[in-house]
């Protein structure tokens, strides 16, 4: 189980720049998605469109749903996703040349998880990093869950833990470079707050 909580309005306004289109997930209701608050916020942001669909995390479903809105999506500078971390990564993977940002943080809740095996994972860290990493999660795409860049264990773009696995930070760097967002890596040292994973679910 998981729970999604809207990021602060200030945080969302920081990333929702230029022509913004929203993608809002109304999938698994058990995630306690803040539906009413999200609708309210989308109104305030006044985006060029809002694609509301179920199960943003499901790549096949997402492709079908996005296809209906391709004109607006292609014209947008920024895609703002209201979903759990898996959903944001699935959208980001669909638009590798576009800035895709998360509007929510995802926290864990005890109980059964979904049943669909997916390429992307969300550790429900409670402080979604996707907005500074080109939509690629450093917690789940890096074997060490590093949040401050690549370690010394990358060879030929692969991870020291598994030679079949791409280095997550190599992917993040290349994505940010492609998007012209390398400055996003020039932040002060980030420290994870593991307490968030316990606090919210209480």
């Amino acid at each position: 189980m998981l729970i999604t909580v809207l990021k602060s309005k200030e945080d969302i306004e920081c990333v929702a720049k230029g022509k913004t289109i929203c993608v809002t997930c109304e999938g698994c209701k058990e995630v306690h998605f803040p539906e009413v608050e999200a609708i309210e916020l989308v109104k305030e942001l006044n985006p060029t469109g809002n694609v509301i669909t179920e199960y943003v995390c499901n790549p096949d479903n997402l492709k079908v749903q996005l296809a209906k809105h391709m004109d607006k999506l292609n014209a947008a500078d920024t895609v703002l996703v209201f979903s759990c971390g898996v959903g944001v990564q699935t959208v980001s993977d669909n638009f590798r040349d576009k800035k895709v940002y998360a509007a929510c943080d995802t926290y864990p809740l005890p109980g059964g998880q979904g049943v669909t095996p997916l390429e992307f994972d969300c550790e429900q860290c409670g402080e979604c990093y996707l907005n500074g990493t080109g939509g690629i999660c450093p917690i789940t795409a890096c074997s060490k869950s590093l949040v401050n860049g690549q370690c010394g264990g990358c060879k030929d773009g692969k991870c020291e833990v598994d030679k079949e696995m791409d280095c997550g930070w190599e992917r993040i760097y290349k994505r940010l470079e492609k998007l012209g967002l390398l400055d996003e890596m020039r932040y002060p040292a980030k420290l994870r707050n593991f307490n968030l994973m316990y606090e919210e679910s209480k």
Binding site: S143, K144, S145, L146, V147, N148, G149, Q150, C151, G152, G153, C154, K155, D156, G157, E160, V161, C167, W169, E170, Y173, E177, L182, M185, R186, P188, A189, K190, L191, R192, F194
Partner: protein, 294 residues
């Protein structure tokens, strides 16, 4: 003595790396340091290198310090959360160990206790930041330390010859911002690549120590080139090691190659770091041949 003071004076700082024993008897290591590492500025002690469990770096540093050597405490984020890391840093300060090399660390799965839980609560960048906070008299929780805060020289690593050099430079910048006062590179065998790297790295204005591993034979360098991240060995060096097997096994070829790389690169860096991997006895020969010691 903090080695940052020597960099400030423009001195070429020379350090050597030693690995603690797989056991609780570091006497042999200290004896070798007395015999072969007298001429180096400081001895850098690994922290269960390659995730292979060994005697601790801090205790070994203390042993070397008591024997009259300057020690550099290597500290990785692999096995300790931020509470244990900060506690060990305060312990180091108590022992008078002032030089640090702060690393993320290898993943436990590549070591000899692969069942271990990987910690990585912090990483090299946030660990540098943590040391900076302790130096200001507060811990990462924002709690004040009692008494005068510790003062360290904070070192970090960078892979100068990595195939991901752009990504490494971005990380280097992060480390500089987090307070790194010197860098030590992964082993360099390609002087040209190192010099090109330094042309880009000099923008940060932080001293860089050229990392070197004395090559023992062609098999060793081929293995490293193929398997160790950040190391690439030019074919010419492999051929040189193959040419005269007797000379190579005597250590002479490795000493010649290492001294030559130092000569080619020393005008571009601020220090030399030798990882002898058991060949500490050749360190004096390398330094003599490179013209760094009489």
């Amino acid at each position: 003595m903090r080695i940052s003071e020597l960099f400030k004076k423009g001195e070429m700082v020379i350090t050597a790396e030693v690995g603690p024993p797989k056991g609780c008897h570091p006497e042999h290591l200290i004896h070798e340091a007395d015999e072969f590492l007298k001429d180096v500025t400081a001895i850098n002690v690994t922290d269960s290198q390659s995730s292979k469990m060994r005697m601790g770096s801090l205790a070994t540093c203390k042993g070397l310090k008591d024997a009259g050597h300057e020690a550099i405490f290597q500290l990785t984020c692999r096995d300790r959360n931020r509470i244990a890391l900060q506690a060990d840093l305060l312990s180091a300060a108590y022992f008078g160990i002032e030089n640090l090399l702060l690393l993320t660390g290898d993943h436990p799965s590549v070591g000899d206790n692969p069942q271990a839980k990987p910690v990585f609560d912090l990483d090299s960048v946030s660990l540098l930041h943590a040391v900076g906070e302790l130096e200001k008299g507060v811990d990462l929780g924002g709690n004040e330390l009692e008494g005068a805060p510790p003062k360290f020289c904070k070192g970090a690593v960078v892979s100068a010859c990595s195939d991901s050099v752009d990504v490494q430079l971005a990380k280097m910048e992060q480390k500089v911002k987090a307070g790194a006062e010197y860098f030590q590179t992964q082993a360099v065998y390609d002087s040209e690549k190192f010099i090109k790297f330094m042309e880009r790295a000099k923008q940060f204005g932080v001293p860089v120590m050229l990392g070197l591993i004395i090559p023992k034979n062609a098999g060793m360098v081929n293995y490293m080139s193929k398997n160790v991240p950040g190391i690439s060995v030019p074919e010419a060096i492999v051929d040189e090691l193959k040419a005269d097997k007797e000379k190579t096994s005597s250590g002479a070829t490795g000493v010649e190659i290492t001294a030559r790389i130092i000569k080619e690169c020393k005008d571009y860096c601020q220090g030399i770091h030798i990882m002898a991997l058991g060949w500490e006895k050749f360190v004096p020969d390398v330094l003599k041949m490179a013209g760094l010691k009489a």
